[in-house]
Symmetry: C2
Subunit: 277 residues, 2 copies
């Protein structure tokens, strides 16, 4: 198997590239998979993106992202469900079987983490069967606890699995992303738990570098630049039976300021150096 056989580049890593530039660069560098985001797909056009991807034989490993299920207001909840049904349809059209979910933070003024997590379960109950009918699995992504208030009240794999296991694995599983879980000594056991029921729906990599930037959104480090032992986490998901794509998803102002092709080439080389060999 080639060094890059399981490699997928998440589009956000090189968001300075247009959709055709991204596809061209992947073909040129031998990158077989891409993780796409809804906004650039919609900008380029869903049908146009699907055609572009299919023409080149690239695999769409995930679509990011659905979610944001924690609103209390009924109209807002209804809008979120409608939008997530559309995301499921888009994932199916793009030929990926995985829609990544970022669950949402606390509603303004609320301090009720438990209630917010329950509302996520309610939404999954409505969306799971719809996703399955479209051949799409929902992947709950636990986000690092530093996002618990304003972005995602699901902070650990354990919490994500507590939610996912209420539903069939064909409908709901989890996203394992090193950036969010690397500090957690219980995560390896939770990866095993996820693997045992076929719920590792995607495996993503980013490295942990400090200092964190203001707002802590755009400081995900290039593979090899930070504190995370990528081989160790690859070992955990493989021991749990995961043999699927390995997607590198970096949000990083410094990388975005550089030439996108150069960043993709660098990321590809880092993947081989720090993950595969």
């Amino acid at each position: 198997m080639s060094d890059l056989a399981r490699f997928s580049i998440n589009q956000m890593t090189v968001k300075q590239l247009s959709m055709p530039e991204l596809v061209d660069a992947c073909v040129e560098l031998g990158v077989p998979g891409v993780g796409l985001w809804r906004e650039p797909v919609q900008s380029y056009g869903l049908e146009e993106t699907a055609k572009l991807i299919m023409d080149t034989g690239l695999t769409v490993t995930t679509l990011c992202r659905g979610g944001f299920f924690t609103a209390i207001d009924p109209q807002e909840r209804s809008r979120a469900l409608t939008d997530n049904r559309r995301a499921i349809e888009e994932a199916a059209r793009l030929g990926t079987d995985t829609l990544v979910l970022v669950s949402g933070g606390l509603p303004p003024g609320s301090k009720d983490l438990h209630g917010a997590r329950e509302r996520i379960a309610d939404a999954l109950g409505e969306l799971g069967p719809y996703a399955e009918r479209h051949g799409v699995r929902l992947a709950i992504e636990p986000l690092h606890p530093m996002y618990a208030a304003d972005r995602c009240v699901v902070s650990t794999l354990s919490q994500a699995l507590d939610l996912a296991e209420r539903f069939p694995a064909e409908q709901v599983g989890v996203a394992v992303d090193t950036y969010h879980i690397w500090w957690d000594d219980t995560a390896p056991a939770q990866i095993a738990r996820a693997g045992a029921t076929g719920r590792i729906h995607t495996f993503q990599l980013a490295d942990w570098t400090t200092p964190l930037p203001k707002g802590v959104l755009d400081g995900r480090g290039q593979i090899g630049n930070g504190a995370i032992d990528m081989r160790e986490w690859k070992g955990h998901v493989e021991a749990a039976g995961y043999t699927g794509p390995i997607e590198v998803e970096l949000f990083n102002e410094e990388l975005w300021a550089r030439d996108g092709r150069e960043v993709l080439a660098e990321t590809t080389a880092r993947f081989v150096e720090h993950v595969i060999r």
Copy 2:
């Protein structure tokens, strides 16, 4: 019991106040306890501080901080142990029974969280008996997982208790700080675990506000301004048998830019409003 009977102001919250200003403001506002930091104590003088505090009848609830045990280099480790023995002596001289420990991050270039945590255990084994002879208990403070790389590899109460329980409770316990654990749905059970063996050595409050500032050190929110339900966490520690001081420890550039007495008065009022009544 008065509303302020259990209130303690951590010195860092109002670091713009000199030691005599802090003591005066506490006496004036009826604040019975203070948590001190080693650097301002050393600046004012250990003996001078001890005398100032004793003359006013204030209680020193904690001394912050010892720790930084994760170095691999033997000389650096030796220096850390020497410094921590001095911190224990200072705590005893100031009349507090609790030295708060921030354990330290990963050594430069290391990705080995497990090894770093083991080195903390080694240090505790050396320091615990020394602390006990001085009537001082060591309180391992789990810091929020966003500090795992560069400040503290102990990220959860569970990890802190796994370390503490290797030693007698009279030597080593934990610091429960809402800022660091509020997102963790397993923390209430870990507080019960800590209480059952008498290991809740201090209970500290800070609120979670966003966006986090660059470097994420100085964004701890004033009580009531953020996402944390303070009464709920007070309930957890009380259900676990903790009846000791409740210390408010805020690192916040905006608070530091204001008049220190005004901030202390505001913090006292917030404590009554959001914690006691």
